[in-house]
Structure formats: structure tokens, C-alpha cells
């Protein structure tokens, strides 16, 4: 019970200041209205729509879990869409992590013009995603694209491949575009993590005889582990739900080979107007996303002191 005077004063003043609970609620009211009206309500009512057979302009007819049953058992596209979504997100996130880590480590060393290069490295992030998608589409273009030009000119290939019209190559192309765009986000967050590692740790490891590789393994990697984990989860959620890049690069084609859940739901709803079914497709991955978010909560939200 031996509390210091300053501590007692602080709690006294805190008491003066923070008890106006009604006013606090009033301040948060606009936010609460937005959260309920523009986020919670639409998602809940969309769930109801996903239980209906519905097109726009006509009232829906309740069909229970019909859409979900069709999705799981009848829709021929779903296995492809699911595997695309997974390979696209996992592949992109792994590559972004590896490249982001490498460039972050280099930009954390005492190199020439370090600040300039840190800014330079951000270029892919500055360009609007839609523009990034269009640019890669143009670069992958079969006849005028720069990517085919070089190997053709060097005589390495005779017939230039149609990147975005080939099932396998198109999948590779969208991952390349995604990695190119997302790499700076990884580099910047990992760099922030690296800067928090005390240089003394490296010194100590060096004195103990650790090689450069040993220092990466025993000092760098453990030091950025948690920031990397958060970045990976956040990026996984957003890559899983990508739309812009895919839609302008391939539109989900050729024949569903680059459709992920979001683009497939979009094409069902806005190209085919089967809104009940489209809603079911867009919601089917929700439990997975919520699981990811719950994993992040203790890491990013933390305990309020």
C-alpha cells in the first residue's frame, strides 16, 4: 500500500478526466453507426441473400443452403478457384517474404546512398494497383510485350508464348505482378523490425565467432520474427482477396485458370447477375479470414494498459 505521491495524484486526475462515459459514447457514435450500418448489417443481410435464389430486380426465393450445396458439390469451377486462390496467395506471400527480407537486410547495412535506395525501392508501392496490373498485362503481351521480345531477339525461343492465354504461364504471371507490387510493404515493415535490433547483439555474435550467415540465423531472424509474422498474415488476408491485379490482367481466364474467389464472385454477380449464388461464393471463405484476424488480434491490438 506504499504508493508514491505522483502515482496517487495521477490516479486522482485520471478519475477527474475519464469518467464522462456518456460523452465518450457520443463521440464514438458516428463510428458505431458506420460499423453497424455499413459493415455489420450488409454482411449479415448478405448472408440471408446467400440463402436465396436471387437476381437483381426480383425478390429472392429462399432455398436454404442450396447455394452452398451447389458450390460444394456441383460447381465445376470451384475446385480450380479454390486451388488458384491458395496457390496464388501462398506463392505470392512466400516470394514477397523472401525478397522483402533480402532487400530489407541490404538496406539496413551501411551502404552507399542508403536513404535514396530506401525511397527508390518503394516505387512499385507508389503506382496504383490497377496501373500495375495493366502494365504487366502490356509487358506480358504476346506480340508487343517486352517480356517476349528479349528471348525472341536472342533466338532463345521461336514462337513467343502467349503468357496470359496459357493456363500455367498466366498463373505465373499474376504471381510475378503481385510479388512486384507487394514487395515494398514487406521490405519496409521488415526493415522497421531490423532497425529495432540492437547492434550490440551483432557485435556480441561476431565476437563469439558467428559468421555472417550465423548472425542472420541467430540474431536477425529471431529479431524480426514477430513483425514478419504480422506482415505475412496481413498480406495473406489481402492477397487472398485480391481483385484489381487479376481482373485487369486476365479477368480470371483463360477458362477459370486465374479466377480466385473474389474475381469469380464478381463475374457471377456483375457479369451473370446470379446474386444469391455470387454472395455465397464471396462469403464462403469468411470463416478462414476471421480465423486469420483472430490470430492477429493479440499481436496488433495487444493488452491495453
Amino acid at each position: 500500500m506504499n504508493r508514491s505521491p505522483t502515482k496517487r495524484m495521477r490516479s486522482l486526475f485520471s478519475g477527474l478526466q475519464f469518467e464522462q462515459s456518456t460523452f465518450g459514447v457520443i463521440l464514438a457514435l458516428p463510428l458505431i453507426i458506420v460499423l453497424l450500418g455499413l459493415l455489420l448489417y450488409p454482411i449479415l443481410s448478405a448472408f440471408v441473400v446467400s440463402l436465396q435464389s436471387k437476381t437483381i430486380g426480383s425478390p429472392g426465393r429462399f432455398i436454404g443452403l442450396g447455394n452452398y450445396i451447389e458450390l460444394l458439390t456441383q460447381d465445376q469451377a470451384i475446385p480450380t478457384v479454390l486451388s488458384n486462390t491458395l496457390t496464388y496467395s501462398i506463392g505470392s506471400v512466400i516470394l514477397k517474404t523472401v525478397f522483402g527480407f533480402i532487400i530489407a537486410v541490404i538496406l539496413n547495412e551501411r551502404i552507399f546512398a542508403r536513404n535514396l535506395f530506401r525511397g527508390w525501392m518503394m516505387i512499385p508501392w507508389i503506382i496504383p494497383t490497377l496501373v500495375v496490373g495493366l502494365t504487366w498485362r502490356w509487358m506480358f503481351d504476346q506480340s508487343g510485350g517486352i517480356i517476349n521480345f528479349i528471348p525472341v531477339k536472342l533466338g532463345l525461343i521461336q514462337i513467343p508464348p502467349a503468357w496470359l492465354a496459357d493456363k500455367v504461364l498466366a498463373r505465373i504471371a499474376i504471381v510475378i505482378a503481385n510479388v512486384w507490387r507487394g514487395m515494398p510493404f514487406f521490405a519496409i515493415t521488415i526493415l522497421a523490425g531490423l532497425q529495432a535490433i540492437s547492434p550490440e547483439l551483432y557485435e556480441a555474435a561476431a565476437i563469439d565467432g558467428a559468421s555472417a550467415w550465423g548472425r542472420i540465423k541467430y540474431v536477425t531472424l529471431p529479431g524480426v520474427r514477430s513483425v514478419m509474422l504480422v506482415t505475412i498474415i496481413l498480406s495473406s488476408i489481402w492477397t487472398f482477396n485480391d481483385f484489381e491485379l487479376l481482373w485487369v490482367m486476365t479477368g480470371g481466364g483463360p477458362s477459370y485458370s486465374t479466377h480466385i474467389f473474389v474475381t469469380y464472385a464478381y463475374s457471377l454477380g456483375f457479369r451473370g447477375s446470379r446474386f444469391g449464388y455470387a454472395t455465397a461464393v464471396s462469403l464462403v471463405a469468411t470463416p478462414l479470414i476471421i480465423l486469420f484476424i483472430l490470430f492477429l488480434v493479440p499481436k496488433l491490438w495487444g493488452d491495453e494498459s
Binding site: 527508390w120 495493366l134 509487358m139 515493415t189 482477396n241 481482373w247 485487369v248 464472385a265 471463405a285 491495453e304
Partner: protein, 281 residues
Amino acid sequence: MIFGNRQFNRTQKIVIYAVLALFLAAATFPPYWIILTSLKKGRDVFNTAEVLIPRHLTVFNYLELFRQNEITGWIVTSTALALVSTVTALAVGILAAYSLTYFRYRGVRALGLAVFFSYVIPKGLLFIPLFLLLNKIGLVGTFTGLVLAHETFSIPFCTWLLYGYFRTLPKELADAARIDGCGPLGVLGRVILPLAAPGVVTAAIFSFTTSWNEFLYAASLTTSNALKTLPLGIAGFLVADSFMWGPLMAAATIATVPMVIVFVFLQRFIVQGMTSGAVKG
């Protein structure tokens, strides 16, 4: 720093700078290609051979874009949309973050958690529910509808970022102001906001640029040419099989210019926003 203050040896130096050069070249080539394409007229864009030493460069595409005048409307819509969403999101976010940090009431923790959830919830999950809601209340194809859609990401984002920022400020300052007779809004306006100005700038930049770049909501909620945003307008160049790469890349360059300006002058805030785990990438 893996190498600390030591000099790299020769091999290490070569490897490090070679990898760095590779990354920077990869980062630089696509924007270079955008600008180069935008400066080529008609079928000249297919003269891929002129990679490094281009000939016949012209600003024809830019002049043509502004002569046809469609792009002016896209720019106006995009600017208005980004400004209105950002100002609204900042107002709502500042008040809410203040409430979450400095007030105690039932459910305040749950509300903080809800803000985090709504910040992370991806657009890909929300766009159809949002379309159905706005369609029901007759706001699909209106400016108000687009603003409401943008608020679903900018309000949670601004609140989340400012909430994090406000929590780092020393509470004693607010206490002192309160003792000196400041009302709750006075504390916010005179003490907290001046201290949190960098956080507010960061929130504003991200909110504005996210709105400026937004495409999914624009594609699903726009029904007329009159309300096309710049990204939607640019995507419109992809018609059937005849892609107008020159004009398309000119419009793409124009869409990127504000981003570059923001980045050059406000890089510090951008890095801060990204590393606070606070931006979608």
C-alpha cells in the same frame, strides 16, 4: 546490421551491390515502360526494339486525352471522392479515437476490437454485401453511394491508426489541461490534436491515396459514364481486342502523378503509416 561497422570484404561488397542493383532495376523498369509507352503514337508502341534508345517520342497521347476531355471528368470525380471520404473519415476517426483512448464506458474494448476487425476485413468480402445494401436504398450509381463505400475502409483505417497514435501520447498532458479548466473538446482540440498532427497527416495521406486508387467499388457501384473515377476510366481502355496502350499508359501516368508528389514530399509519413501495420499491401 549484420556487418556492423566493419567494412565488407570484396566478395561481400560485390554480392550486396549486385543484388541491390537487381532489385532496383526490377522496381524501375515497369514505370519506365509505362512512361515510354505513353510517349509513343499509335502503332509505334509495338516497336519494342527501341527499348533503351527510343525514337519518335511525342506527347500526342496526353494532348489527345485532354482534347477529348473525358479524363477531366474522371479526375474531378476521383478528386472529389477522395477529398470527401478523407475529410469525413478524419472527422469520425479523430472523435472515435479520442473516445476509445480517453473515456471509459461499457463496451469500449469491444468497440476497439470491432475497429480492428473492420480495418482488416478485405474489400473482396464486402463488395457484394455493400452493393446489395446500396442497391436496396437506391444509392448504386450515385456519388453518395461511392462515398459510403469508401467510408467502409477509410473510417476504420483512420480510427485504427489514430487510436494507435493517441495511445502513445502521455496522458498527463490531458490531465493537466483538464485541471486548468479545459472541457473535453478543448482537451482534444488544444492538447491532443496538435501533438497528434503527424498521425493525422499519415491518416489523411493513406485515406486519400487509397480512395484515389480504388477500383473494385468503382467497378461494382458505377452505372454511368458521368461518375467514372480515374481508375475505372483507365480500365475502360481495355476494349475487346484493340488495346490502346499509348493513351492507356498516358492516363496511367496521369493517375500516378499525385502519388509520386505525395511520396516525394511526405515519405516520412508514408513509412510511418506502413510500419504501424496500418496499410494494405
